[in-house]
């Protein structure tokens, strides 16, 4: 089967998702594959994607065992880890024993169509007009529904670990997270994507998240996959009045990473964060197209998106902020800072503010630059070699986005990842 330019061999859809998948497959027949002529894909070439021929998988990759998973386990999430392999749920590797009066976890494939609908399945993700969202649904095999009950404060971070492993044939894997944080409930979600080998795959994780009044969700998204894969994700969040959502995306892997987070304010007095740190080198492409949509009055939003580019890597940022006509007293901050460490790296940045209300404070800024020679000199004059000084400054640039991460084990491995990136790259240019 061809989905336009994307060559793709599909498996028959699994029962639960069959009606959705059939509809999606039908939509794909008329949807055009994104090209550089589409404004949203102008700077992000997909030719490395279309040169592969993909197969869908819905197997569980039984070869993956505890031995492989061990090093990714977080001590803070000993009783709250959900493991997927190639997008398929692996109960034998998961360990989830949190109090079910506070949080319940269901497999999407075990829910009835009416339960799915009631939980908001397919209500946030575009079902017709966005190529990769539709492809996601057409290739979807499984997913989780996480439901944090009213007033529950879930202390242990919930670790959703998606492991990829494949063979010589490129494959597609998609999974869905459906999340409800009820009134006055609080939880932390760590969504992590890793690969065990260098196989080529296309993963399209989609999240539909609903946070109700006075609810709060902290969401860490960590993408540290191999540099051959394609990762196109759409985390979409709907916030009721007085809800809070704080999201931190840290992405180091993938040949092509395209992230399209979207936050929609559906009531007054919300507070949300959409921070990101992207570290890329070689021939990696990283593209963040975000939407922060203030539809009601009294909203605070904060977006700090930091990118470090080395080698021939290529970064795109398009940050849309909408403030609708009736959305007064909005305070929105957006900053995109790019550290371009090589001559051949490329950075595109485009803040896009569309403001229709008048009582609004919106600040935005974008910078692209090399390390400041005065800063390098300062550290050298304190005895550090030039290389060490540059490493320290690159590290410091990156650190700002991760220093607020409260889950200690995650903070620790991210610091190690940043250090590995800086020591690998800083030496090779200067």
């Amino acid at each position: 089967m061809h989905f336009k330019e994307l060559e793709f061999t599909s498996q028959p859809p699994i029962d639960w998702v069959a009606p959705y998948a059939a509809k999606a497959a039908h939509s794909l027949e008329t949807l055009s594959f994104p090209t550089k002529k589409d404004e949203d894909w102008r700077f992000t070439p997909l030719k490395t994607l279309t040169k592969h021929s993909f197969q869908s998988v819905n197997g569980e990759a039984k070869s993956v065992t505890e031995e492989h998973v061990q090093k990714y386990r977080l001590p803070e999430s000993r009783e709250s880890t959900l493991v997927l392999v190639n997008g398929a749920i692996r109960e034998d590797l998961s360990s989830f024993s949190l109090d079910s009066s506070a949080i319940t976890v269901k497999k999407l494939q075990e829910m009835t169509p009416s339960e799915l609908e009631e939980a908001g399945f397919q209500s946030l993700v575009p079902v017709e007009n966005d190529y990769f969202s539709v492809l996601h649904t057409a290739t979807l095999t499984s997913g989780y529904y996480l439901h944090v009950h009213k007033g529950a404060k879930v202390e242990a971070p919930i670790h959703v670990l998606n492991i990829q492993t494949g063979g010589p044939t490129p494959y597609v894997s998609s999974f869905r997270l459906l999340i409800h944080v009820e009134q006055e409930a609080e939880a932390t979600l760590i969504e992590e994507h890793v690969s065990l080998d260098d196989s080529v795959y296309l993963t399209i994780p989609v999240m539909e998240t609903f946070v109700q009044k006075k609810g709060r969700l902290n969401h860490l998204r960590i993408q540290r996959e191999n540099k051959s894969c394609f990762h196109i994700s759409r985390p979409i969040t709907s916030l009721e009045g007085t809800a809070e959502y704080h999201s931190y995306t840290i992405a180091l892997g993938a040949h092509l990473f395209r992230n399209e987070p979207q936050i929609i304010q559906t009531g007054e007095e919300v507070d949300f964060t959409l921070d990101g740190l992207i570290l890329i080198d070689g021939d990696q492409i990283s593209d963040t197209h975000s939407v922060m949509d203030h539809r009601f009055s009294h909203g605070n939003s904060h977006q700090l998106h930091k990118v470090v580019v080395h080698g021939n890597a290529h970064s795109v940022f398009n940050g849309k902020i909408f403030v609708r006509q009736d959305a007064q007293i909005i305070d929105s901050f957006q900053e995109n800072r790019n550290l371009l460490l090589s001559r051949d790296g490329i950075v595109y940045t485009k803040p896009q503010l569309e403001i229709f209300a008048d009582d609004v404070q919106c600040s935005h800024g974008a910078t692209i630059g090399d390390l400041d020679p005065d800063e390098v000199f300062y550290l050298q004059s304190r005895g550090m070699t030039e290389q060490k000084a540059k490493e320290v400054l690159t590290y410091a640039f990156a650190l700002e986005t991760i220093e607020n991460i409260e889950v200690e084990s995650v903070h620790t491995f991210l610091v190690d990842e940043v250090k590995a990136y800086t020591s690998r790259n800083v030496a090779s240019r200067f």
Binding site: P373, D374, E375, F377, Y378, L379, R382, E386, K388, L399
Partner: protein, 249 residues
């Protein structure tokens, strides 16, 4: 200790000459002050001594401890005992004062054949130096110069000087932006750090600092050259008459 001979320098890649034949000799145990109007090249001189890569020496030499340092990188000069207190100290978010100082102290110690210190030992050592500039120990765990007031940044420079124990210190406009209390603290610190074995060169626009730190030698720099050298009384004369009489001389 330091001998600068007929030093000419330009901004890297440009044709504008900023230093036009500077001569300066500093001996062990001395305190010098270089005064001059804005744009005279006095800050540039201190950056060039510390090895700033943004300037190119086109003529002349800088001899330190008997050897030319022109080919040395800034870190090698730091290892050899040269220190620059910056006019605008740089913020390094994510790196604590403690981390920076330990890294600096140990690399410098190593290159000078001194013992390195372990973290606990080092923290004790730092605490003794904090008192010199009346700084709170919690400050060691803050990121370098991040969210520091102007005065705190300047005090931090002098604190670093106290910790690293350089042999030759250039203090670039250390007094600018300090209120009277901070100026008293900073200059008190410098007076305690300075001894018979090291030399201090203060670069300053105003005479004010020299009420607290008494120089042995005062130089006036105008348009890239030192036009006059004298004793501490020269500073008072400048205070009274300004720089005009020397510019026109």
């Amino acid at each position: 200790m330091l001998e600068i001979k007929n030093l000419h320098a330009i901004v890297e890649g440009e044709d504008i000459e900023i230093l036009k034949g500077v001569n300066l000799t500093v001996s062990k145990g001395e305190i010098h002050a270089i005064m001059g109007p804005n744009g005279s090249g006095k800050s540039t001189l201190s950056k060039i001594v510390a090895g700033h890569p943004g300037y190119e020496v086109t003529e002349g030499d800088i001899i330190y401890d008997g050897e030319s340092i022109l080919e040395m990188d800034p870190d090698e000069r730091a290892h050899a005992g040269i220190f620059l207190a910056f006019q605008y100290p740089v913020e390094v978010p994510g790196v604590t004062n403690m981390t920076l100082l330990r890294e600096s102290y140990n690399t410098i110690a190593k290159s000078r054949g001194r013992e390195e210190m372990d973290p606990l030992e080092f923290e004790d050592y730092l605490k003794t130096k904090l008192d010199l500039v009346e700084m709170n120990p919690e400050f060691l765990h803050r990121s370098v110069n991040t969210a520091f007031s102007g005065g705190e940044k300047k005090r931090n420079e002098i604190f670093q000087m106290a910790v690293l124990q350089p042999k030759l210190s250039f203090l670039d406009e250390t007094d600018s932006g300090l209120d009277i209390d901070a100026l008293r603290i900073v200059s008190g610190g410098i007076n305690q750090i300075h001894g018979d074995d090291d030399a201090v060169v203060m670069v300053t626009h105003y005479q004010r600092l020299l009420e607290y730190i008494v120089p042995d030698v005062v130089h006036v720099m105008i348009d890239g050259v030192i036009v006059k050298t004298g004793g501490k009384e020269l500073a008072l004369e400048l205070e009274e008459k300004g720089y005009d009489w020397l510019e026109n001389a």
